[in-house]
Amino acid sequence: MTLHLTHEQLCDVILADSSLPREGTSTIVQDHLHACLHCSAELESLRASLALFREASTAYAGQQFVRSCMQRGSIAPPQHLLTQPLYWAAAAVLLVAASFPLNLYRQQQHRPVPAATAVVTPHTTESDEALLEDVDQTLSADVPSPMEPLADPTASSTSADSTTYQRKN
C-alpha cells in the first residue's frame, strides 16, 4: 500500500506562508513530493487551478473596474434601465403628476392684477375729467325746473337783521 500526503500536509504546501514558522514535517513532505508522482501531480494541478482562478478573476475585475470608472463619469442612468419600457412609462406618469400642480400654480400667478395698482397717465386724467363734466351737465339738464332747489327767501333779511343787531350792540 502506497502512502500519500494527508490533506493537511498537501494544504500546508499550497498555503506555504512566510509569516508562519516552518514545521519539522516540511522536509519529509518535500522528500515525498519528489518521490511520489501522484501527490506531486495533484499538487501541481491544484496550484495551477488556483493560479488560474486568481489571474482570471484579477483580469476580469480589472476590466470591470475600468468600465465602472467610465460609467461613473456620466450621470445617465444605467443603459438597461433606459431600454425597459416599464421604466419609461413610470417616468412619464411621474412627470405628468409633477407638472400638474405646477401648472395650476403658474395659472394663479398670471391672473390680472387689480386696477388700483395701474399707473395713471395724463391722457386718462383728461378723459376722466371730461367724462365727469359730461355727467354733471347731463344731470343738471335732466332735472326739471320745478325740482330745482329753491332760493332761500330769508337770506337777504337775515343778513340785514344781523347788521341791525350788531349796530344796536
Binding site: L15, L50, R54, S57
Partner: protein, 197 residues
C-alpha cells in the same frame, strides 16, 4: 479646490484637530479602490453591487477614520470594512442577492475569457477553462466564512496572520477554514479527473 480643503472646511474644530493617516482619502482611494472592488466583485459576483459596496467601504472608512489607531496597515483596515459589508449584504439581502444574481451575475463564461493563454494549443485551453470553472463553482458552494478566508488567501494573496487580523479569527481557525475550502475544491478536482479517465 482639493477635496481635502472642502472636507476640512466642513468639519468642526474638534474633529479637525486630530489628524489621521486616512485624512488624505483621495490617495487612499486611488491606491486601494481597485483591490477592494475586486474583492467585492468576486465575493458578490455582481458588478453593480460591487461598485456600491466599494464606495460604501471608503465612506465608512472616512466616517470612522478617527477610530483608526494605526495598529494595522490601512489595507488591512479597509479589507476588514469590506469584509463586514459583504457579510452584511449577503446576510440581510440574501434573498434579493440571489434574485439579482440571475440577472447581472458574473458567470464563469465571463471569467473564462480572461484565462491567460500561455499555451496556444486547444487542448490546454480547454483544460484551463475546465480548471477555472471547477474552482469558480466550488467557491460558490463554500460557506460564507470559508469563502471569505479563501478569497483573502488565494485572490488577494494575504498571509494567514493578516487574514486572522482582518477576520478577527485565530490563525489556527483561519487554517481550518482554508483546509475545508481546499477539501471542497480538491474533491471536485479529483471527481473531474476520475470522470476524464
Amino acid at each position: 479646490m482639493p477635496s481635502q480643503a472642502i472636507i476640512s472646511e466642513r468639519l468642526p474644530a474638534t474633529q479637525q484637530a486630530v489628524a489621521t493617516p486616512l485624512d488624505d482619502m483621495d490617495s487612499i482611494v486611488a491606491m486601494y479602490e481597485q483591490r477592494i472592488f475586486r474583492f467585492h466583485l468576486v465575493s458578490i459576483r455582481d458588478r453593480d453591487v460591487a461598485q456600491s459596496l466599494t464606495q460604501d467601504t471608503f465612506l465608512r472608512a472616512w466616517n470612522a477614520r478617527s477610530t483608526f489607531r494605526g495598529d494595522c496597515a490601512i489595507s488591512t483596515w479597509l479589507m476588514r470594512i469590506a469584509l463586514n459589508l459583504v457579510r452584511d449584504h449577503t446576510r440581510t439581502d440574501r434573498f434579493r442577492f440571489w434574485k439579482r444574481v440571475s440577472e447581472t451575475a458574473v458567470d464563469v463564461s465571463d471569467i473564462s475569457s480572461h484565462v491567460p493563454h500561455r499555451d496556444s494549443s486547444l487542448e490546454s485551453r480547454l483544460i484551463a477553462h475546465e480548471q477555472l470553472a471547477l474552482v469558480w463553482e466550488s467557491v460558490a458552494q463554500l460557506s460564507e466564512r470559508q469563502r471569505n478566508v479563501f478569497l483573502l488567501r488565494f485572490l488577494d494573496e494575504l498571509e494567514l496572520s493578516e487574514i486572522a487580523t482582518i477576520t478577527g479569527l485565530p490563525v489556527s481557525t483561519v487554517k481550518t477554514h482554508l483546509y475545508r475550502a481546499l477539501a471542497t475544491i480538491r474533491a471536485r478536482h479529483n471527481a473531474t479527473h476520475k470522470e476524464d479517465q
